[in-house]
Symmetry: C2
Amino acid sequence: MPPVNLKRLAQELNLSIATVSRALQDSYEVSAHTKERVRALAAELNYQPNAYASSLRRNVSKTIGVVIPEVNNHFFSLAINGIEEVARQSGYHVLIYLTHDDYEREVGITQYLTGGRVDGLLMSVASESREFEHLQKLYASKPAIVFFDRVCEALPTAKVTTNDYESGYLATAHLIEAGCRHIAHLLVSGNLSIGRMRMQGYQAALREHGLEFDETLVLTGDADDERNKERIMDLLRTRPEVDGIFASVERLALSSYQACKELGRAIPEQIKVVGFSNLGVASLLDPALTTITQPAYDIGRQAATILLRAIEKKKAILPSQSVVLKSELFARRSTAR
Amino acid sequence: MPPVNLKRLAQELNLSIATVSRALQDSYEVSAHTKERVRALAAELNYQPNAYASSLRRNVSKTIGVVIPEVNNHFFSLAINGIEEVARQSGYHVLIYLTHDDYEREVGITQYLTGGRVDGLLMSVASESREFEHLQKLYASKPAIVFFDRVCEALPTAKVTTNDYESGYLATAHLIEAGCRHIAHLLVSGNLSIGRMRMQGYQAALREHGLEFDETLVLTGDADDERNKERIMDLLRTRPEVDGIFASVERLALSSYQACKELGRAIPEQIKVVGFSNLGVASLLDPALTTITQPAYDIGRQAATILLRAIEKKKAILPSQSVVLKSELFARRSTAR
DNA sequence: CTGTTAGCGCATTCAG
DNA sequence: CTGAATGCGCTAACAG
């Protein structure tokens, strides 16, 4: 069976390829009658335009890429939800790439992406990425880029983030007000803006409540959850005075909970924990879980909206289009008192 | 600045386009010296082949599509993880589409996909889909398809599933052995094979343990979580004898937990619940949560592996390549006694 | 080992 | 209103 393409339609209808093409695009310079004939046959044969030929010709792919650390995480999966929603409504396809917070992979992926495969890119950088050369290259190679959550400050483009400084402050203040005096901080990574911001909020809250900032209570996590848990347990063992933990990212919050449980230290009676990011499910079920919840779905939507708008208008994305959304402290029942 | 394509490279090197193309593909019929020159310039100019031109010419896109109900769900996000992993290793790109369990969307997406954009498709059908005409059409239009978890039995292709019947049996038996005598079943959807299988296991377990199957204790959920919760609460109120719940899917399990909490019926003391699927995080934190956990990551990997192998070998996928993996009952501490 | 030629399917000039 | 011709960037068959 011959393939169903414009040529085939043209032959069967005794028309030229050009006319068929125009008819399918509802061009004003084709008679209503012809359009009808073309559409009827196209439907009958289940004609689908070849996306690649079209992309090649028009030099747009109607495809965006999403590069994120992982998907098995409430924040990112909700964000994808928002992104996919917006993309589909605008007729865009979504390619997904996971870095697993690995620098090498991120570099590989960005190279993969340099070359017209996508019209634009939504990105949350890997926490391990210190060097941004690959991102610079990518940026130079043209696709529109919008960062969300884990941004690369070095590139002059729009970023969709949350009020990380304030949230860090809020989380810490919440713990202090609940009676904590020795609050450990679990940092996601020193070279990630969200980590720095949240930590600054943490420090400010301590300071303003008259507490010392103790550098030795700050633990920087890595990609190995098991090891993170061990290190948290070590910290809790060697520093028994710790009565609160502020985890700056979901994975570390979980590791904290597990560490506390394994050490038999009850949450929230003995140790209070505030986990950053969307524990979703868990926080609904276990009242001991206090979380800072980011509006992940909206972040995804906003980032995608900015990106697609720029693509459609063929306009550059400016840093001034950046958006800062608000996170919320979500405690099922107050841990204060 | 002129674009960096083969033509440009060829001009600057005084070679033909064909030679440059061959050199970049490391063809044996190009001198080492020439290859070197080409590669050097390509690197210098950061040449990236145009993926669409290549796809058009070769008639392969090195892209697969993943169509799933949602991503904000441990099962699917883990599966994506596995899929992306396998795909990337083989140099494939992954397009993602979410149906939100909506029939219309699924139809729209499959149409979207009919037309060479993807070389293959991994799919978990929407629970609402009763009609499979769109899938038949898609199947006829050629891309290789592998179903996973929520399969469409009508199509003669490979399916990657878990031992749903046994798991349903196991879950129910677990409740019975823990002392439950009136076990409600929350069905995901009557027209989904996983639902039917799990329910059959549930019925068999009841039967073999000498319990009556009571149709009025079976509740079929829909896409509205809030309403599901209300209906579960209704059921628990009108049928106070219910002392166990077997939820055949993650979302319904969560709604059950919430319903129980709102009614003040303690889990697992007053009501025991077994939730199907990967509650992940939650089950680690709350010992009350008993889950049937599917090997989601492996399911993703396996499905992707079968698909890519078939694509690479240009061979049709046979139903005989189907795989059935095993789920595991995961109770943090036994609810029995 | 290298170049010439043709064409993937489509959108778009330019003619009529 | 319609058709013929051109080329997007790349690969592959065919020469030499």
